[in-house]
Amino acid sequence: MELSRARALIPLLSSTGCSVDLTLVGQGLISGVLFGGVYSLMAVGLTLIFGVMRVVNFAHGDMMVWGMYLAYLLATHAGVDPYAGFALCAAALFVLGLLIQRGLVDRIVDAPHEMQILLMLGVALVLENVALMVFGPEPTRVTSSLATATLWLGPVFVDVNRLVAFAVAVALTLALSTFLFRTELGRTIRAAADNTYGALVIGTDVRRVYAVAFGIGAACVGAAGALVSSILPFQPPTGLSLSVTSFNVVIIGGMGSLAGAFVGGLLVSVAESLGAVFLKPSLKELFSFTLLIVILLFRPAGLFGKRAS
């Protein structure tokens, strides 16, 4: 039934009485693109950590949930809007990232992938359930001054909150690129990422670089958590779905690529949004997973990734 609806739409587009569906498609596109900003934000920290250290951070989503809860605490107890408080969340997660890297990841950087995955799963379990003990099981959402602000362009509207998130995603991607390509520390991190051995030879303290890189990655996760905390409701188990979505985005865009995270976020979001327009919305995630499988098979390095050897 839903499929026939989608098919019926195509002739409808060319006929006259289709203004409703066209508006819906347009609205779906706008919402999709803007929400892509949220997905991009979610993915940046993940791609950074993988790009530098080749560590697949399965605790990614749970770290982000902590960023969200910190933003929530700031908002409810200190009245700080998440758009202002995100820097604090980033700083807190930087420290958490540093601790996780120094205490755990550093010991197994050379271990096989499955060991890293298990380690980070363990970290994820701990983070999720500490959050459960501290914050309880109820879902929450941070209220922001922008929460229900909208701009109307004729029949379609733009969600101001998402517009801001989108802008922040662009800014963060640019800022990180600038950091990695234009600063001394950034260059060192990239060098260590490209060639650990070479970096060792020229006297880089690779362990320190890794710790800083992991910390920065975690800080991005924290910032992203705070920034999307007024858009996404969250509760302790939300981490898993955040991780899964972020992995989708990052693989599609290209592991380790900032531009990939950005474009991947847009693609996944638009695919899901259009899926919700044309098909049963409960099937929309099928689009992103199918996209993921196709990318894995035909371009495993992702759209913007370097070809794996």
Partner: protein, 419 residues
């Protein structure tokens, strides 16, 4: 030979650890043990904890009032269990509590775990009162198997609306309310979370709508994956269907996304009326959604606050849960325990599960704190057809019963006032 012995020792050590869990404590005589199993951790921890507290409060009240009088003031003792919403834990916990001496079972909120508990109840002949779980087949399957002669006795009974009775009542309330309000909306858009609960409710609602064939139509059905990260396109699609009424079936997390989105997209309509689901009335949700929930109606099992006992129980619950509302979950678990007490009072003997089941079948209890359509009576499949939802509405940031008339505490406001 060292190696093998050690290996076996490891096995045995583990075995001992496994077998060494609390053994049956049949030595203490004066209590009747009831296994109370709910998901108190995991994704449904919130309602599960409410259920457990509701049951405990009821047991405390029964014991304080002198226990089971016909059995010499026998006290109730709860052996609690946690399913984490995993079916396998439903089975494990049922086995464990029975092993620890539970002679009856109550639980368990989610239909998967409940189903797993049913098999233990039937297998071990332990009378099981389902306090919450809406999937129709849970009891119907057992009834059919007894009817077909595959089993002798049905040990499973349910005091909670099933998906189909939820649906029938919701369609009836929708029609009544539209009529009472003297409006004739035509276009209803059904939106639901596509998980076990949401799909069950949505199917019941659609089936009942088809059967009743009211003057209003369900013009669009929009399920979303639960938990959703974004519902804006879903709401845009609802808007494109030009709804008079949006009928949402939510979970708390998706309600937090859905309602602000409906406000944002400025949908012109008469109101939001839900066919039944959590997320639209709880204290935590109200604190977050505030005005977005004002005038929202939803059809849920609801305590009868006209009964003065209900107010007292709600106050006790608020205290013991540090601020939560006494509602669907806590209420049905509370009533469930009182139904069990009533059964025990009437049972000729508590030693034989079948005599307990005999008493269970003859239940005719009207002391519940929830709104019922009549006394609690189990029908041919073991469900209480009088377990019905109530239409509630958020008025001045408080959920109040507004329909049916005999349950209503306040008059509903529909269509909702234009902002």
């Amino acid at each position: 030979m060292t190696k093998p012995r050690l290996t076996r020792r490891t096995f045995l050590a583990t075995t001992a650890a496994a077998a060494g869990f609390p053994r049956p404590l049949r030595a203490q005589p004066k209590t009747f043990k009831i296994g109370v199993v709910h998901p108190v951790t995991g994704p449904l921890a919130e309602p599960g904890q409410a259920c457990r507290l509701g049951a405990q409060m009821a047991a405390d009240a029964i014991n304080a009032a002198g226990g089971i009088k016909s059995k010499g003031g026998l006290k109730l003792e709860l052996i609690v269990g946690d399913t984490q919403t995993k079916p396998e834990n439903g089975r494990v916990e049922a086995e464990r509590v029975v092993n620890q001496g539970a002679q009856m079972l109550m639980g368990s909120f989610d239909s998967g775990s409940t189903s797993a508990m049913v098999s233990v109840a039937q297998q071990k002949r332990v009378p099981f009162l389902i306090d919450i779980a809406a999937a129709d087949p849970i009891t119907a399957n057992v009834a059919k198997s007894v009817k077909d002669g595959e089993q002798k006795v049905q040990y499973v009974y349910r005091n909670f609306p099933t998906g189909s009775s939820f649906g029938r009542k919701a369609v009836q309330y929708f029609t009544d309310i539209f009529k009472e309000a003297n409006v004739s909306p035509k276009r209803v858009v059904l939106m639901y979370c596509n998980d076990l609960f949401g799909q069950n409710q949505a199917r019941g609602f659609q089936a009942a709508h088809k059967a009743a064939n009211p003057s209003w139509e369900i013009v669009e059905v929009i399920p979303w994956p639960e938990p959703p990260s974004d519902l804006s396109t879903e709401v845009s699609r609802a808007k494109a269907a030009k709804p008079d009424v949006i009928a949402p079936i939510t979970r708390p997390a998706s309600a937090l996304l859905l309602l602000p989105e409906i406000v944002k997209q400025r949908i012109e309509m008469l109101g939001i009326v839900g066919p039944g689901g959590p997320g639209l009335y709880e204290a935590g949700q109200l604190a977050q959604l505030k005005q977005n929930l004002e005038y929202v109606m939803t059809s849920v099992p609801w305590p009868n606050f006209k009964n003065p006992k209900t107010g007292a129980a709600a106050e006790e619950f608020r205290k013991r849960s540090s601020g939560k509302t006494f509602d669907t979950n806590s209420g049905y678990s509370y009533d469930g325990m009182f139904v069990i007490a009533d059964i025990l009072e009437r049972a000729s003997s508590l030693d034989d599960p079948d005599t307990i089941v005999d008493a269970m079948k003859k239940t005719n209890y009207s002391g519940g704190l929830m709104n019922y359509g009549g006394p609690i009576v189990f029908n041919e499949v073991g469900d209480n057809a009088n377990a019905i939802p109530t239409m509630i509405q958020i008025l001045s940031q408080k959920p109040v019963a507004v329909w049916p008339r005999e349950a209503a505490v306040q008059k509903f406001i529909f269509p909702r006032p234009k902002a």
